[in-house]
Protein backbone atom coordinates (compact mmCIF):
# COMPACT_ATOMS: atom_id res chain seq x y z
CA UNK A 1 0.00 0.00 0.00
CA UNK A 2 1.08 3.47 -0.70
CA UNK A 3 -0.18 6.09 1.62
CA UNK A 4 1.08 9.38 2.87
CA UNK A 5 0.32 10.77 6.25
CA UNK A 6 -0.60 14.41 6.12
CA UNK A 7 0.65 16.67 8.84
CA UNK A 8 -0.64 20.01 9.94
CA UNK A 9 1.51 22.77 11.31
CA UNK A 10 0.70 21.99 14.90
CA UNK A 11 1.59 18.32 14.53
CA UNK A 12 4.91 19.22 13.00
CA UNK A 13 5.66 21.63 15.83
CA UNK A 14 4.77 19.05 18.45
CA UNK A 15 6.97 16.45 16.76
CA UNK A 16 9.82 18.93 16.60
CA UNK A 17 9.48 19.59 20.32
CA UNK A 18 9.56 15.90 21.12
CA UNK A 19 12.63 15.29 18.97
CA UNK A 20 14.35 18.30 20.49
CA UNK A 21 13.67 17.20 24.07
CA UNK A 22 14.31 13.50 23.68
CA UNK A 23 17.17 13.46 21.19
CA UNK A 24 18.82 16.76 20.32
CA UNK A 25 19.12 17.75 24.00
CA UNK A 26 20.71 14.37 24.63
CA UNK A 27 23.57 15.26 22.28
CA UNK A 28 22.36 13.73 19.03
CA UNK A 29 23.63 15.65 16.00
CA UNK A 30 20.74 15.30 13.66
CA UNK A 31 17.31 13.65 13.50
CA UNK A 32 15.20 13.14 10.41
CA UNK A 33 11.61 12.00 10.42
CA UNK A 34 10.90 10.77 6.91
CA UNK A 35 8.51 8.62 4.93
CA UNK A 36 9.48 5.59 2.89
CA UNK A 37 9.13 7.54 -0.34
CA UNK A 38 12.24 9.39 0.84
CA UNK A 39 10.48 12.65 1.79
CA UNK A 40 11.81 14.61 4.75
CA UNK A 41 9.02 15.50 7.16
CA UNK A 42 10.98 16.96 10.05
CA UNK A 43 14.69 17.60 10.33
CA UNK A 44 16.44 18.97 13.39
CA UNK A 45 20.15 19.53 13.92
CA UNK A 46 22.18 20.53 16.95
CA UNK A 47 24.22 23.01 14.93
CA UNK A 48 27.47 21.03 14.90
CA UNK A 49 26.83 19.31 11.60
CA UNK A 50 25.11 20.03 8.38
CA UNK A 51 24.24 17.01 6.30
CA UNK A 52 22.58 16.71 2.93
CA UNK A 53 19.36 15.45 4.48
CA UNK A 54 17.43 15.01 1.24
CA UNK A 55 20.00 12.66 -0.21
CA UNK A 56 20.30 10.90 3.12
CA UNK A 57 16.54 10.38 3.25
CA UNK A 58 16.42 9.06 -0.32
CA UNK A 59 19.16 6.55 0.42
CA UNK A 60 17.74 5.64 3.82
CA UNK A 61 14.34 4.86 2.31
CA UNK A 62 15.98 2.60 -0.26
CA UNK A 63 18.20 1.00 2.36
CA UNK A 64 15.33 0.37 4.72
CA UNK A 65 13.27 -1.16 1.94
CA UNK A 66 16.14 -3.40 0.91
CA UNK A 67 16.83 -4.56 4.46
CA UNK A 68 13.13 -5.29 5.02
CA UNK A 69 13.10 -7.37 1.85
CA UNK A 70 16.15 -9.26 3.16
CA UNK A 71 14.32 -9.90 6.43
CA UNK A 72 11.35 -11.35 4.55
CA UNK A 73 13.58 -13.70 2.58
CA UNK A 74 14.93 -15.29 5.76
CA UNK A 75 11.46 -15.46 7.26
CA UNK A 76 11.56 -12.40 9.52
CA UNK A 77 8.92 -9.70 9.53
CA UNK A 78 11.57 -7.04 9.99
CA UNK A 79 14.89 -6.39 11.70
CA UNK A 80 14.20 -4.36 14.78
CA UNK A 81 17.69 -2.90 15.12
CA UNK A 82 19.10 -1.09 12.15
CA UNK A 83 22.28 0.68 12.88
CA UNK A 84 25.38 1.70 10.92
CA UNK A 85 28.45 2.35 12.99
CA UNK A 86 31.19 4.63 11.81
CA UNK A 87 34.45 5.66 13.40
CA UNK A 88 33.11 9.07 14.38
CA UNK A 89 29.46 9.18 13.38
CA UNK A 90 26.78 6.53 13.38
CA UNK A 91 23.26 6.26 12.02
CA UNK A 92 20.34 4.60 13.77
CA UNK A 93 17.07 3.76 11.95
CA UNK A 94 13.78 3.15 13.62
CA UNK A 95 10.29 2.57 12.32
CA UNK A 96 7.72 4.95 13.80
CA UNK A 97 4.58 3.64 12.14
CA UNK A 98 4.03 1.92 8.81
CA UNK A 99 5.70 4.14 6.21
CA UNK A 100 7.48 6.48 8.64
CA UNK A 101 11.10 6.24 9.72
CA UNK A 102 13.15 8.07 12.28
CA UNK A 103 16.81 8.51 11.41
CA UNK A 104 19.24 9.54 14.12
CA UNK A 105 22.81 10.62 13.48
CA UNK A 106 25.04 10.68 16.53
CA UNK A 107 28.69 10.55 17.53
CA UNK A 108 30.80 8.66 20.04
CA UNK A 109 29.64 10.80 22.95
CA UNK A 110 26.20 9.19 22.86
CA UNK A 111 25.89 5.55 23.88
CA UNK A 112 23.86 3.31 21.60
CA UNK A 113 21.91 1.82 24.51
CA UNK A 114 20.81 5.18 25.83
CA UNK A 115 20.01 6.38 22.34
CA UNK A 116 17.78 3.38 21.67
CA UNK A 117 15.94 4.06 24.90
CA UNK A 118 15.39 7.71 24.02
CA UNK A 119 14.39 6.90 20.43
CA UNK A 120 11.81 4.44 21.76
CA UNK A 121 10.41 7.12 24.08
CA UNK A 122 10.28 9.70 21.31
CA UNK A 123 8.50 7.25 19.00
CA UNK A 124 5.92 6.43 21.64
CA UNK A 125 5.15 10.13 22.04
CA UNK A 126 5.01 10.72 18.26
CA UNK A 127 2.69 7.76 17.70
CA UNK A 128 0.11 9.42 19.92
CA UNK A 129 0.16 12.50 17.71
CA UNK A 130 -0.44 10.85 14.34
Amino acid sequence: MDFTIEFDKQQIESIENILQEELIDLGVQSVILMDLAGNVIVNLENGDASHDVYSLAALAAGNYGAVSAMANIIGEQEFSLLFHKGEEESIHFSKVVEDLLLLTIFNKNVSLGFLRLKVAEAIKRIQVLI
Binding site: T4, K9, I12, G38, N39, A58, A61, G65, A69
Partner: protein
Amino acid sequence: MALINPKKKEVQVKIVYYGPGRGGKTTNLEYINKKFKKRIQNEMVTVKTYGDRTLFFDFLPFDIGEIKGHSIKVQLYTVPGQVKYNATRRLVLRGVDGLVFVADSMDLRREMNIRSLQNLKENLETFNKSIFNIPLVLQYNKRDLEEEGIPILSTDTLQRDLNSRLKAPSFAASAVKGDNVAATMKKIIALTVGSLRKKLE
Protein backbone atom coordinates in the same frame (compact mmCIF):
# COMPACT_ATOMS: atom_id res chain seq x y z
CA MET B 1 1.79 11.56 -3.04
CA ALA B 2 3.85 14.65 -2.71
CA LEU B 3 4.70 15.69 0.79
CA ILE B 4 3.48 19.10 1.85
CA ASN B 5 5.04 20.66 4.91
CA PRO B 6 2.67 23.41 6.07
CA LYS B 7 5.16 24.76 8.60
CA LYS B 8 8.09 25.28 6.25
CA LYS B 9 5.71 25.91 3.35
CA GLU B 10 7.60 23.38 1.33
CA VAL B 11 6.46 20.71 -1.11
CA GLN B 12 8.54 17.67 -2.01
CA VAL B 13 7.72 16.12 -5.34
CA LYS B 14 9.09 12.76 -6.49
CA ILE B 15 9.65 12.20 -10.18
CA VAL B 16 10.97 8.86 -11.42
CA TYR B 17 12.69 8.18 -14.74
CA TYR B 18 11.70 4.68 -15.81
CA GLY B 19 12.57 2.55 -18.83
CA PRO B 20 14.60 -0.38 -20.16
CA GLY B 21 18.23 -0.92 -19.16
CA ARG B 22 20.83 1.20 -20.95
CA GLY B 23 18.11 3.45 -22.32
CA GLY B 24 19.63 6.68 -21.02
CA LYS B 25 17.81 7.42 -17.76
CA THR B 26 20.98 8.17 -15.84
CA THR B 27 22.31 10.17 -18.79
CA ASN B 28 19.22 12.37 -18.57
CA LEU B 29 19.93 13.12 -14.92
CA GLU B 30 23.61 13.68 -15.55
CA TYR B 31 22.80 16.19 -18.25
CA ILE B 32 20.33 18.01 -16.00
CA ASN B 33 22.86 18.04 -13.19
CA LYS B 34 25.45 19.64 -15.46
CA LYS B 35 23.14 22.05 -17.21
CA PHE B 36 21.38 23.36 -14.11
CA LYS B 37 24.36 23.17 -11.78
CA LYS B 38 23.71 26.63 -10.38
CA ARG B 39 20.26 25.72 -9.13
CA ILE B 40 21.24 22.37 -7.69
CA GLN B 41 22.68 22.67 -4.22
CA ASN B 42 23.36 19.04 -3.53
CA GLU B 43 25.48 16.49 -5.28
CA MET B 44 23.82 13.90 -7.45
CA VAL B 45 23.71 10.59 -5.62
CA THR B 46 24.27 7.47 -7.59
CA VAL B 47 24.47 3.84 -6.58
CA LYS B 48 26.20 1.96 -9.35
CA THR B 49 27.20 -1.64 -9.89
CA TYR B 50 30.17 -3.15 -11.52
CA GLY B 51 30.15 -2.01 -15.12
CA ASP B 52 28.74 1.43 -14.40
CA ARG B 53 25.09 0.47 -14.49
CA THR B 54 22.56 1.75 -12.01
CA LEU B 55 22.11 -0.74 -9.17
CA PHE B 56 19.67 1.06 -6.96
CA PHE B 57 18.88 4.52 -8.20
CA ASP B 58 20.27 7.92 -9.03
CA PHE B 59 18.93 10.84 -7.08
CA LEU B 60 19.01 14.53 -7.90
CA PRO B 61 17.25 17.08 -5.69
CA PHE B 62 16.39 20.39 -7.22
CA ASP B 63 14.63 23.64 -6.18
CA ILE B 64 12.31 25.09 -8.76
CA GLY B 65 11.09 28.16 -6.93
CA GLU B 66 7.73 29.01 -5.43
CA ILE B 67 4.15 28.19 -6.30
CA LYS B 68 1.34 29.66 -4.26
CA GLY B 69 3.74 30.60 -1.49
CA HIS B 70 5.25 27.12 -1.24
CA SER B 71 8.81 26.37 -2.21
CA ILE B 72 8.89 23.35 -4.49
CA LYS B 73 11.62 20.75 -4.12
CA VAL B 74 11.69 18.36 -7.03
CA GLN B 75 13.47 15.06 -6.49
CA LEU B 76 14.48 13.23 -9.62
CA TYR B 77 15.11 9.50 -9.37
CA THR B 78 16.04 6.82 -11.87
CA VAL B 79 15.43 3.11 -11.49
CA PRO B 80 17.71 0.27 -12.56
CA GLY B 81 16.44 -0.84 -15.95
CA GLN B 82 17.52 -4.47 -16.06
CA VAL B 83 14.73 -6.99 -15.77
CA LYS B 84 16.23 -8.73 -12.72
CA TYR B 85 16.13 -5.62 -10.54
CA ASN B 86 12.36 -5.41 -10.28
CA ALA B 87 12.28 -5.41 -6.48
CA THR B 88 14.48 -2.32 -6.45
CA ARG B 89 12.38 -0.63 -9.10
CA ARG B 90 9.32 -1.13 -6.96
CA LEU B 91 11.07 0.38 -3.95
CA VAL B 92 11.96 3.50 -5.90
CA LEU B 93 8.42 3.85 -7.23
CA ARG B 94 7.00 4.14 -3.74
CA GLY B 95 5.35 7.53 -3.37
CA VAL B 96 6.01 8.58 -6.98
CA ASP B 97 4.22 11.73 -8.16
CA GLY B 98 5.28 11.89 -11.81
CA LEU B 99 6.98 9.61 -14.33
CA VAL B 100 9.19 9.95 -17.35
CA PHE B 101 9.39 6.81 -19.46
CA VAL B 102 12.67 6.83 -21.36
CA ALA B 103 12.34 4.57 -24.39
CA ASP B 104 15.33 3.44 -26.42
CA SER B 105 14.86 4.32 -30.10
CA MET B 106 17.21 1.58 -31.32
CA ASP B 107 15.52 -0.92 -33.61
CA LEU B 108 16.84 -3.78 -31.51
CA ARG B 109 15.22 -2.49 -28.36
CA ARG B 110 11.65 -2.37 -29.59
CA GLU B 111 10.50 -5.36 -27.56
CA MET B 112 12.38 -4.16 -24.44
CA ASN B 113 10.53 -0.85 -24.47
CA ILE B 114 7.15 -2.51 -24.63
CA ARG B 115 8.06 -4.94 -21.86
CA SER B 116 9.43 -2.22 -19.62
CA LEU B 117 6.29 -0.10 -20.02
CA GLN B 118 4.17 -3.12 -19.17
CA ASN B 119 6.36 -3.70 -16.12
CA LEU B 120 5.84 -0.09 -15.05
CA LYS B 121 2.11 -0.50 -15.35
CA GLU B 122 2.18 -3.65 -13.21
CA ASN B 123 4.45 -2.14 -10.59
CA LEU B 124 2.22 0.92 -10.26
CA GLU B 125 -0.73 -1.39 -9.76
CA THR B 126 0.95 -2.90 -6.70
CA PHE B 127 0.70 0.60 -5.18
CA ASN B 128 -2.91 0.94 -6.34
CA LYS B 129 -1.92 3.47 -8.96
CA SER B 130 -2.89 3.49 -12.58
CA ILE B 131 -0.53 4.46 -15.37
CA PHE B 132 -3.47 6.29 -16.94
CA ASN B 133 -3.95 8.62 -13.96
CA ILE B 134 -0.42 9.57 -13.04
CA PRO B 135 1.45 12.49 -14.65
CA LEU B 136 3.55 10.85 -17.37
CA VAL B 137 5.83 11.98 -20.19
CA LEU B 138 7.41 9.70 -22.79
CA GLN B 139 10.87 10.35 -24.13
CA TYR B 140 12.14 8.65 -27.30
CA ASN B 141 15.82 8.75 -26.60
CA LYS B 142 18.93 8.17 -28.72
CA ARG B 143 17.60 9.94 -31.83
CA ASP B 144 21.22 10.94 -32.52
CA LEU B 145 22.12 7.34 -33.42
CA GLU B 146 20.53 7.79 -36.81
CA GLU B 147 23.42 10.03 -37.85
CA GLU B 148 25.79 7.18 -37.09
CA GLY B 149 23.89 4.84 -39.37
CA ILE B 150 22.44 2.74 -36.56
CA PRO B 151 18.87 1.62 -37.39
CA ILE B 152 16.34 3.34 -35.17
CA LEU B 153 12.57 3.15 -34.85
CA SER B 154 10.54 6.01 -36.28
CA THR B 155 8.73 8.17 -33.75
CA ASP B 156 5.47 7.01 -35.36
CA THR B 157 6.34 3.40 -34.57
CA LEU B 158 7.29 4.33 -31.01
CA GLN B 159 4.06 6.26 -30.60
CA ARG B 160 2.07 3.30 -31.85
CA ASP B 161 3.94 0.79 -29.67
CA LEU B 162 3.91 2.78 -26.46
CA ASN B 163 1.60 5.74 -26.58
CA SER B 164 -1.47 4.74 -28.55
CA ARG B 165 -3.57 4.32 -25.42
CA LEU B 166 -1.70 6.50 -22.98
CA LYS B 167 -1.68 9.59 -25.18
CA ALA B 168 0.96 11.18 -22.97
CA PRO B 169 3.12 14.10 -24.11
CA SER B 170 6.20 12.75 -25.87
CA PHE B 171 9.60 14.06 -26.93
CA ALA B 172 12.18 12.82 -29.42
CA ALA B 173 15.43 13.33 -27.57
CA SER B 174 19.12 12.69 -27.29
CA ALA B 175 20.26 12.53 -23.69
CA VAL B 176 23.90 12.36 -24.74
CA LYS B 177 23.64 15.59 -26.69
CA GLY B 178 21.07 17.14 -24.38
CA ASP B 179 18.39 17.54 -27.05
CA ASN B 180 14.98 17.81 -25.42
CA VAL B 181 16.28 16.64 -22.06
CA ALA B 182 15.31 19.90 -20.38
CA ALA B 183 12.02 20.01 -22.32
CA THR B 184 11.10 16.54 -21.05
CA MET B 185 11.92 17.54 -17.50
CA LYS B 186 10.04 20.82 -17.68
CA LYS B 187 6.99 19.06 -19.05
CA ILE B 188 6.87 16.45 -16.30
CA ILE B 189 7.43 19.07 -13.60
CA ALA B 190 4.63 21.20 -15.05
CA LEU B 191 2.24 18.24 -15.15
CA THR B 192 3.13 17.02 -11.67
CA VAL B 193 3.08 20.39 -9.97
CA GLY B 194 -0.09 21.26 -11.89
CA SER B 195 -1.80 18.25 -10.36
CA LEU B 196 -0.87 19.60 -6.90
CA ARG B 197 -2.11 23.13 -7.38
CA LYS B 198 -5.51 22.37 -5.98
CA LYS B 199 -4.00 20.99 -2.82
CA LEU B 200 -1.95 24.11 -2.25
CA GLU B 201 -4.87 26.51 -2.41
